[in-house]
């Protein structure tokens, strides 16, 4: 469920197919997300999941799995 909602956010932000976003997907290498994309994705995550994403934690996100695990830990 978290992966599905997260992949929708990422897909909407980057204009890519949701089905191509998996747990192993790398935010920078695979998605080619730049800093603005990542900040906007994080803000969308905060709104969607009603959580606050800590700045230091966000800087450590490398893959979709990192983000999913983080969201689940906050829920």
């Amino acid at each position: 469920m978290v992966l599905e909602k997260l992949s929708k956010i990422v897909s909407d932000q980057l204009g890519m197919e949701q089905s191509k976003i998996t747990m192993q997907t790398s935010l920078k290498e695979d998605l080619l997300a730049d800093s603005l994309d990542i900040v906007e994705i994080i803000m969308a995550i905060e709104e969607q999941f009603d959580i606050q994403v800590d700045d230091d934690d966000a800087l450590a996100f490398k893959t979709i799995a990192d983000v999913v695990n983080y969201i689940e830990s906050k829920s």
């Binding site: 800093s35 603005l36 900040v39 803000m43 230091d56 966000a58």
Partner: protein, 151 residues
């Protein structure tokens, strides 16, 4: 401070071309290395010889060289931004350039940090907007390559 702009299809080739241009101007054989935090710097003869910042978007590469800390960000001028703290893409480039100069990752808290007016300049370059932030307050020289027009 020198800022080079180049259109590219191959980013690695474009970086090398700009570095060669900078090497020719500086009279040294320069290379770029990265610190542990990922911040680039220029070395020549095994020693750091200047600071550099790199930004690319949509087929345009910007590289800013200075003897002092420097940050650069370039974006398409028509890029929409969905961040409340940032009214427009120009504001974003200023924040990003400032963060790069400081060598810190861009975070939500940086969105509300005051950006120094002194040492930060923003300009429209054709279809793009670019900001440069530097401790080097000398006159900036923008070298145009491949006919990217400065407005």
């Amino acid at each position: 401070m020198l800022v080079f702009l180049k259109k590219y299809t191959d980013l690695t080739v474009a970086k090398k071309a700009i570095l060669n241009e900078y090497s020719a101007r500086s009279g040294k054989v320069c290379a770029i290395e990265y610190s542990e935090s990922g911040k680039p710097y220029v070395i020549a003869d095994g020693q750091q010889c200047s600071c550099v910042s790199i930004s690319h978007t949509d087929g345009v590469l910007a590289m800013a060289f200075s003897q002092r800390e420097v940050g650069v960000d370039i974006e398409r001028a028509d890029r929409k931004i969905k961040i409340k703290q940032c009214p427009d893409i120009e504001s974003w480039t200023r924040i990003e350039a400032y963060c790069k100069m400081l060598g810190v990752g861009l975070s939500k808290s940086m969105l509300t940090s005051p950006i120094p007016d002194k040492g930060t300049s923003t300009r429209r370059v054709g279809e793009y907007v670019m900001s440069v932030c530097s401790e080097d307050e000398s006159v900036e020289i923008v070298t145009l390559i491949d006919n990217i027009c400065e407005e």
